[in-house]
């Protein structure tokens, strides 16, 4: 009776957004009289960070400090229509809608500043610190705050913008499946190391290492949140979770957290992530969206690592100790496969 180590890998891509279009997001942005901006959306933040993603995208496009922008979501009376937070669409679709709205608001902002500075708006740039100045002449400047005040109380201009981003509807050919699905795809490859106990059938994940290509990373800390949390969910899907352990037999299902198994804080494995950025041509600043795909490579990588460790293929998830032991019995014992590579 012993423990056997194995390594497996998997590589995947992931489509960004509802794949057949009909997929609109809208955004509204307006400024207070002192140049502080509110972005009104009906997008949903269910932890993935929608509020902060759109806040950074809005600040970048407006050319103002991020703390001068707050995102207000979701209130159907003030936030315009959005399809919702699913299908990895939030960053891409809503990010683009926010860019559109912010561009319009920025246009008015620069017009108002041009009027105050008596220059052409096309010659103005923002410094991202709250100032607007003539390109190449930083001394000919006005603050965003003074501009907003002038727009509101002197010029009678609304520093505001509205934006929509729509991937139009598209059809599917019934006979060939020809279609226009998503335009942006993210990519990943993940290597997992496991240890399998041939007596208990238990699988422990020893470590994981991955490379993710996600287009432009809007906020690296939040990308890390998604990838780390998602990898945990991947381990959980691969080894622990199901409400129907003997599917399709519907019986014996767990009813609560006592019976529904997930890895706890003591069951997590070291995880090393490397990020590649190939900007999406139609993404907000090239952004794609990592929130959904981050569990996907973990499942097959672990299954492949289990095979590498003991020679048992488990084709039905989750990979429970029972399935491992039955597989070992069917195989007549452990059949370790060749070792691959060095320490993670």
């Amino acid at each position: 009776m012993a423990r056997f180590r194995g390594r497996g890998m998997a590589s995947v891509n992931y489509p960004i957004g509802m794949n057949l279009g009909g997929d609109p997001s809208q955004a509204l942005i307006h400024s207070n009289p002192d140049g502080k901006f509110t972005v009104a959306l009906s997008a949903i933040d269910l932890g993935q960070g929608m509020k902060q993603v759109t806040r950074q995208v809005a600040a970048e496009t407006l050319g103002v400090p991020v703390e001068d922008v707050y995102v207000d979501t979701a209130d159907s009376d003030t936030g315009p229509h959005d399809m919702g937070s699913f299908a990895s669409r939030g960053t891409h679709r809503m990010g683009n809608a926010v860019i559109a709205a912010a561009r319009e608001a920025r246009g008015v902002l620069l017009e108002a500043a041009a009027e105050e500075l008596e220059v052409n708006a096309a010659d103005l740039v923002t410094d991202g610190k709250g100032n607007i100045h003539v390109k190449g002449a930083p001394s000919r400047a006005i603050t965003v705050r003074a501009t907003a005040q002038a727009a509101q109380f002197k010029q009678g201009k609304t520093i505001a913008g509205r934006g929509i981003f729509l991937i139009p509807l598209s059809s599917v050919d019934p006979e060939t499946g020809e279609m226009n699905p998503n335009t942006a795809f993210a990519h990943a490859c993940l290597v997992a190391d496991v240890e399998v106990d041939d007596e208990t059938g238990e699988v422990a994940v020893l470590g994981m290492s991955s490379a993710y290509e996600l287009g432009r990373v809007i906020n690296p800390k939040m990308v890390e949140q998604q990838l780390v949390g998602g990898a945990w969910m991947g381990i959980s899907h691969a080894l622990y979770e199901t409400p129907e352990p003997y599917y399709p037999n519907p019986d014996h299902g767990p009813r609560d957290f006592n019976e529904y198994l997930m890895p706890g804080p003591g069951d997590i494995a070291p995880y090393s992530i490397t990020i590649l950025e190939r900007p999406a041509p139609d993404g907000p600043f090239g952004g794609k969206g990592p929130g959904e795909m981050c569990a996907n490579p973990v499942l097959p990588a672990i299954a492949n690592a289990v095979y590498n460790a003991i020679g048992v293929r488990v084709n039905d998830l989750p990979i429970t100790p029972e399935k491992i032991l039955r597989g070992l019995r069917a195989n007549g014992g452990v059949k370790p496969q060749p070792r691959r590579g060095g320490a993670l």
């Binding site: 269910l46 780390v228 949390g229 957290f257 997930m262 706890g264 804080p265």
Partner: protein
């Protein structure tokens, strides 16, 4: 069923409510006293989102009869900050991006506070033990563990000052 009065200190202030004898503390805190810090996640003590401190001890509000809290001192996440100053744990959770949806965060912070209150120098295993009763579906736990360890490192210095 006739309601019974119950009085306790909540985050340092005297509070009173009328509760059904069968009401749990979570219901009374949330629906009776409008303290929405502790959350309902399972109602059976398995997820930890309703964690509170009762007389300094970590307790699950969903499994605690409200009437049994008469005269007790109850702390929830809502009272964790010292006025506008966040508790070191709250700062550490922010710095380590240790929350995504934020729903388990009140319970996590409360469990972590209970740990640091009794052990200001915990090791990684101590932290894991301390939050083992709290379920997080978003973060994969690692940022939370790191945040608690980091907060512990700032604590003794604060206590000395």
């Amino acid at each position: 069923m006739a309601k019974v009065p119950v009085q306790f200190r909540l985050n340092g202030s005297d509070r009173a409510a009328f509760a059904d004898p069968a009401d749990n503390l979570l219901t009374v805190l949330r629906r009776g006293l409008n303290d929405f810090g502790p959350k309902y996640g399972c109602g059976q003590g398995t997820c930890g989102t309703c964690s509170v401190l009762i007389d300094g001890e970590l307790r699950l509000a969903c499994l605690t009869l409200a009437a049994s809290c008469e005269g007790a001192s109850i702390e929830t996440v809502s009272g964790m900050a010292d006025g506008p100053s966040l508790h070191p744990l709250q700062n550490a959770f922010m710095e380590h991006f240790a929350a995504q949806c934020g729903f388990c965060t009140p319970g996590m912070l409360t469990a972590a506070k209970a740990l640091l209150d009794r052990n200001p120098n915990p090791g990684r295993e101590d932290v894991i033990d301390a939050i083992a009763g709290n379920i997080c579906r978003c973060t994969g736990y690692e940022p939370i563990i790191q945040a608690i360890l980091a907060a512990a490192r700032t604590l003794p210095a604060q206590r000395r000052s």
